[in-house]
Amino acid sequence: MKWTTRLNAAVLIALALICGCSNNPYRSGETEEQTYFSSFSRAPEKLDPARSYWMHESAIIDQVYEAAFEYHFLNRPYEIVPLTTESIPKPIYYDKKGKLLKRKDPAPEKIGRVEYVIKVKPGIMYHDHPCFAKDKQGEPIYANVTLADIKGYDLPNDFECKGTRELEARDYVLQIKRLADPSISCPIYSTIKNYMIGFEELHDTYAKMFEDERAKRKKAAGASYNQEKDEQENPFIVDYLGPEFEGAQVLDKYTYKISLNAKYPQILYWMCMHFFVPMPIEALEFHCQAAMIEKHIVLNRCPVGTGPYVLTRFKPNEVMELRRNPNYHDDFYPSEGNPGDREAGYLDDAGKRLPMIERQVYRMERESMSRWRKFLLGYYDSSGVASDVFDSAINMQMGSEAMLSDEMKDKGIKLLTSVSPDLTYTQFNMLDDVVGGYSEEQCKLRQAMSIAIDHNEYLDIFMNSRGVLGQGPIPPGLFGYRDGKEGTNPYISKWDPVRERHVRKSIEYAEQLMVEAGYPNGRKPDGTPLTVHYDHSSSGDPGFRAQFKWMHRRLQLIGIELKERGTDLTRYRQKRQKGNWQIMRNGWVADYPDPENFLFLFYGPNSRVKTGGPNSTNYDREEYNVLFKEMESMQNGPERQAAIDKMMKIVQHDAPSIWDLHPVSFQLFHSWYKNNKPHNMSSNLVKYQRIDPELRRQMQLKWNKAILLPVYLLIALGLLAIVPAAITIYRRDRGL
């Protein structure tokens, strides 16, 4: 080939590359479908609904599996509605002798057993999956497969033969039994075992079976025994159908029964979560085969459900794709909601069949900046607001609501904010001699510290004011929370009617409390300064350093010297277990919208030191404990509110924690993305949402026209630099 031909070819290729330049990360035509584009920053690892307790995994699991119930998409306060069942079951109460109690709401102490009978809707089908594929004789096609049989397959979707079957009550019962399997380490085992009859015994039966089998295998293998490798290659096959289990029983093809040992209405909330979804035995048999394990075609990455979507692509470090389940049962967009929903357009799609979005694509984005830029260019349909871009996206003026910046408004972006049902709290160890204890002086010391550590200032400095100052453990939006002036914690806060928010009492008042606590000017009776220790495991975190300095400065205002005691995670855990600490920081994210889920953090028998429970402060006040037991099983109503009010008064006075804040979540949505009412309890919301692909395509084209002039200039500049150099070399080479 002549050099001129080569040059021409190179120029043509370069021109083709330059002319084809685009920053569109999707393939041609991909954005023209009803597809939702989003990103993820953390790869999901456990898609097994019995194992996962992470929100980023729930976002996938809850769209493939379906629990018996779900939360209403529009109604607030949150309301449970049937999903795969005929109705929401009513509890049936029996006394301790097994006699049916006819009262609708009997006293907890009279109850010996509670039953919920749940009727599954007939005709609900699983999505197409090879585990259901059968031959002409009705035998599973993919039983006893070898590696050669499944060569080239990565996900169930790749298999040639697929089948389906109807959802049955036995599938729910099977999954509940899995929650007791010790090899699964179900995160809610410790809670469920307290209520479900026979649950702990079932767990112990499985555990003993494993121990016996392990001992046998170890004896056979001798010194070369490697338990982990052995169990990876020959996993224990648990006979879930075998042992009798009273806690969950199948009554007929479409009916099953849950039996509890006490009144526990929160079980219905748990049953909205993916722990209680149906699990077909065929899926377990399919995925437990040695060849499947070897190829990693396992339940942890291959969900099998009846939900609106099917996981069709799963590369957890690159991309995940869900497609509409063609077998999805009748499910329709709600026709009613809260006042204002119709005006906000949330009822425009009332009565439409769900899901409306055909496909969802989630791409891995490790860096928040890349994610944010793609959102601005229209390549992601929604986004959160990271701290580093907050100022460019949101105008937050003192005393006014958060507003979008002009750039965001010009792009038609919508901002929706909602208070998350979470609590961030600074804990005092109630077992500690200085910051703990229940005497009036000790309570006043904690109240004074609560006033000094003013979280309104914290919100302004560290969180772009994205939070609500805490007045107690219950976050806004949950039953029991009191808003406005009547919700003020009278010991540490006051209501500011001008700015309509809670503010901390003055430092002078805190100093007065210090005097009453026996620490005038922060000095102990012997005249030495009062020193308290902040225990943490965040030494390497630069964000922590700034926060600690702030806290140190705030406590200095009342004369207290705050010192940090940083340790590694192991020591930190040990300190917490043994109660050998003074002040720590913690957080709690709601599992379900019930005040019990927050008030139990201060219930004495849940003490971390005594029972390893979630009460890390080890707070144990008799009156509170009695009220908690009463409140726990009450129906929402004036009686329950009164009990909660009393409990709040007690914890506000005793101040076992500083109720720091409840975070406010900021979500941004492009104009083509519809029906995105904030919902903090559910992860299966995409089925209600809709995309206007034509509008998206137009906006993407408008915002992403390639600018080639600088490239041409750069090429010209390069040529200008290279040509004289080449000429000089040529001349020197030829001795000219």
């Binding site: 920053n23 690892e45 942890n300 791409r363 984005e365 890349s370 192991t570 979630p614 001795g735």
Partner: protein
């Protein structure tokens, strides 16, 4: 040469054992199996009993280095070190400690092509560009071009790698809208995602490499044989590319071949910012997730590749310099 290679391979065994021991010691000096279990299972509602179950399933219930409860071989074999780290010597990386439980070997195999898709073009392009420019500046030594280029090189070396990445994403992807900001895709679709990281990789290496190669070439072109070649009337092209380049190969090869393991191990920062699912991010993710199985495997793999690369460097010396003999 065969004897030499065998001897070097045998030397590698204690080195790799030492690396394994250091990784094991460092890891368990900072973490305990309880921490690992809590990180993987999550802290919320998890009981000590479940943490113990997890440790049992993953062999972390065993003593670390020796097991006094076992007799005979079991004294050494029924320990975390033996069961976890010694398997690496037969390249059995095992499975990830996280609940996903994926085979580490499979994961490495699936990620290597992604890393190589980015690092090989960077490697080749930067080798070509950097050698070319360094020869030019060596050729024009002492002129305004040499001085300007030295200034540019020092300037480029002084800029943080992060600046190149963020700057390139801002200018090329966000402002000029020429290439995607980040991402990855299968087959030929991945090309558009690789343009920017390759360009950034090239720019990042330019300053340091040009300065290094310039020094190497300057040393060569001041030697007598170059003067003789010129005196015989050879053109500059031949002097530079045939004579000087060939004789400057030893330091160049050392620099180039030792860099080969890093091609396979990927580029941590580029992979992270451009969302490329290569090996660079695998180890960092594993450290964050307290996945000791992946951490030890990646550290072992890195050590093996480095040892192999050094052997190759030695062998390559014999190819470019007939005076070198391996005994």
């Amino acid at each position: 040469m065969l004897t030499y290679i065998i001897r070097r391979v045998l030397y590698a065994i204690p080195i790799l054992l030492g690396v394994n021991l250091i990784i094991f010691g460092l890891y368990f000096g900072l973490n305990s199996p309880d921490d690992m279990a809590e990180t993987i299972l999550g802290e919320k509602r998890v009981t000590q009993e479940q943490i113990d179950d997890w440790k049992r399933q993953h062999n972390y219930h065993l003593p670390k280095m020796y097991n006094t409860e076992e007799r005979g071989l079991g004294f050494f074999t029924q320990t975390i070190f033996w069961q976890k780290s010694m398997r690496l010597f037969i390249f059995d990386f095992g499975k990830s400690d996280t609940a996903e439980g994926k085979s580490i070997g499979d994961e490495i195999r699936s990620r290597i092509p992604n890393s190589l898709a980015m690092t090989i073009p960077i490697f080749l392009a930067s080798l070509f560009v950097n050698l070319f420019f360094s020869m030019i500046v060596a050729f024009y030594r002492g002129t305004y071009l040499d001085n300007s280029m030295r200034f540019i090189c020092v300037f480029m070396m002084s800029i943080s790698g992060m600046f190149y990445i963020i700057g390139a994403q801002t200018v090329a992807a966000q402002m000029l809208k020429l290439v995607p900001i980040s991402g990855f895709d299968a087959g030929l679709y991945k090309i558009k995602f690789l343009i920017l990281p390759i360009l950034v990789g090239l720019l990042r290496s330019f300053g340091g490499a040009v300065r290094y190669y310039r020094t190497v070439f300057l040393e060569e072109i001041n030697k007598d044989y170059v003067r003789t070649a010129r005196a015989k009337g050879l053109g500059e092209n031949k002097v530079l590319f045939k004579h000087a380049l060939k004789n400057a190969m030893i330091p160049i090869l050392t620099n180039v071949v030792v860099g080969i393991p890093f091609l396979i191990m990927g580029s941590l920062m580029l992979e992270r910012f451009f969302s490329i699912p290569g090996l660079g991010g695998y180890m960092i993710d594993a450290i964050g997730k307290q996945d000791f199985a992946v951490v030890r495997s990646m550290a072992f793999l890195g050590s093996v590749l480095y040892v192999v690369a050094l052997i190759f460097v030695d062998i390559s010396y014999t190819l470019v310099d007939p005076r070198v003999r391996l005994k």
